[in-house]
Subunit: 379 residues, 2 copies
């Protein structure tokens, strides 16, 4: 099928760009002793996972139990569920363990650990547990070096339903960085958090085989990997405009876009409408922070090949099913007559992709749709 035969709006995935992005990150970690455990929360697709896992050990990270179940259905048997566990999630986790998946869960509270341990025991399983650390994001996790780390480690080690496997942190604060040097500092803080907590556990005679860190910016720019056992990251597979603005990739690396059709012109407003609005692009807009190179609104507008930018045009506003294209200069109506297909490069691909169930797979600018890959949305 030709790209031009697709109904719009739809989600386009350039397999060549995906493969390049995956290979670049895999090559960066090959031979370092740090295992790359791709995070599948952005892609949510076994077809993408297979490309990301090529050359790696086969383990993944997920953000929902539905992802865990889906990837297990497709044969992946080493999964880290990287959202704090609560007892209510135990039946599904126990079912995954019962079918042979090595599933690791994360936790940062000793009282919850006791409840989880009791529920696991009641379910007849032992859950591998990682202590969640806060290395600067200020979302969840214990602070490395505090005594709570050892107390939680001791509890996880001793409880009948849990098995202490190590520590995990995520430098989500790297998204606030505006220079590679700043990212390197955050990466070092992320590493130090993990290795400090690991040293605490070991000094207390506790096991800590897993020392896990990761975010796409820190995975891309970290200088020292000393003491780490694994790196987790996900959005690097696709890239997005925001990631390109914080040095994770170039604009030319972006693998995912939304194909849309120009449906109207508003010359008196210097704007045009496309049939991709908030439901096709998400409402995750560029912050337009003064320290970012450019406010790209809800997306940058490219021609249908996805390779050439329509000069100065971006999605400035979204309604449910309309996107409003705006331009800093005179709007290029002649380049974008009604009916024209465009590709929108998303500001934040995790959110944009989540609005779709299917990737239409292309390779570069051949114009052919090679395949359709399903996503596993929901919980």
């Amino acid at each position: 099928m030709r790209l031009t035969g697709l109904e719009t709006p739809c989600l386009i995935l350039d397999r060549q760009a995906l493969e390049r992005n995956a290979q670049r990150m895999t090559a960066r970690y090959a031979g370092t002793g740090v295992a790359l455990r791709p995070h599948m929360k952005s892609a949510k697709s076994i077809d993408v996972a297979r490309i990301a896992l090529a050359g790696n050990f086969g383990g993944i990270t997920v953000s929902t139990l539905k992802e865990a179940e889906y990837f297990a259905d497709h044969g992946i048997d080493d999964i880290t569920y990287a959202v704090g566990i609560v007892p209510d999630k135990l039946p599904r986790i126990a079912a995954l363990i019962g079918r042979g998946v090595r599933l690791s869960a994360i936790i940062d509270q000793i009282d919850v650990a006791r409840e989880v341990g009791a529920r696991a025991q009641a379910e007849g399983v032992v859950i591998d547990m990682l202590i969640e650390l806060d290395s600067g994001e200020r979302r969840a996790g214990l602070i490395a070096g505090t005594k709570g780390v050892v107390a939680l480690g001791q509890a996880l080690h001793e409880l009948a339903g849990t098995n202490l496997r190590g520590v995990l942190t995520h430098a989500g604060n790297s998204y606030q960085c505006r220079s590679i040097e700043a990212i390197q500092q955050v990466a070092e803080a992320e590493r130090l958090s993990a290795v400090t907590a690991a040293a605490q556990l070991r000094a207390a005679g506790l096991p800590c085989p897993v020392v896990s860190v990761g975010s796409t910016p820190t995975a891309t720019h970290a200088v020292s990997l000393e003491g780490l056992s694994e790196m987790r990251c996900g959005v690097y597979m696709f890239g997005d405009v925001f990631q390109s603005e914080i040095f994770s990739c170039d604009l030319g690396d972006l693998a995912v876009s939304v194909l849309a059709t120009v449906i109207g012109h508003r010359p008196e407003m210097n704007s045009a409408l496309i049939d991709a609005g908030a439901l096709a692009l998400s409402k995750d807009r560029s912050t337009g922070a003064p320290d970012l190179p450019e406010d790209i609104g809800f997306g940058l507008v490219m021609d249908a090949s996805g390779l050439r930018r329509i000069d100065g045009v971006r999605v400035g506003h979204v309604y449910q099913e309309h996107g409003m294209l705006v331009s800093d200069g005179a709007f290029p109506f002649d380049v974008l007559p009604v009916g024209t297909r465009v590709r929108v490069l998303p500001n934040h691909v995790c959110m944009t992709a989540a609005m779709h169930n299917t990737y239409r797979v292309v390779a570069g600018d051949s114009g052919h749709v090679l395949d359709s890959w399903q996503r596993v949305n929901g919980w």
Copy 2:
């Protein structure tokens, strides 16, 4: 099944609140001579449509062709597709007409009308067309009173593939209003736009049986309906916090919420985490505009019954799968221990509901899940 047995996050629909909201709007238009044509873009569910259509004539409005096809599959045969038509959409529209659906499309450009007419003729159908008017939203549409209205009407009347049926406008700008008086003014501008254009067409000897307006705020507060034939609105069925802030409903009217579980405490940050983040709530946050009563972030937090607010607590920040609860005063950790279920009232329900495939249907605070209703997302 009990509400407490549901996996979180999930979308909850209170059928009693939905029925009250639907009946209120239906009663408002009963006997006015203005037909209520519910917009299904928020609900995207035949089960919800049946409740909204009770006491009305049976026609609906949709925002995607997938909705049109889905509702046609469920027996609805009078559908207005209220996003500007382009020729590429013709095959699916022709198929709908071919199976007996009275489908009306909207348009605001004469050159596109000619292409649509030619494509319709090639497909062997005649499409009912409404002229889209801009009554103040500044998104799409012609300005009533300008000569373009008659020119487009003439073209639609004369083209072999199109049938002029009337005019349509949507006062989306009513969302910017901050008083009932302001909404009434916008409603009057919306009405005047439609009746002015209708008068133009009729003065030119053209037919204009349909004079269609609508948005939930204007449908709720319009004073004069003179000259109108139909009212379109959708979000009134569910309500949301934003609509409650602009006088479309009370907080107690809200029919849709997201059930979530508290998964962590951060006493040092006066906050807690729930397992509903950007993918469960959307990133459509409250603007926090100074002229709105309250910045509720990504949602207001209620107890599990959905009826009692947790004082001062809102979703202040979202990550992909984490929501961070914040509070103006001391965070009520004792009321919300880890594992507690809460209900989040969304800022903008159209976007929040779109993140889910299924409504879990309850009735008031009985705590029982009565049913599961599917949504038709996508395009």
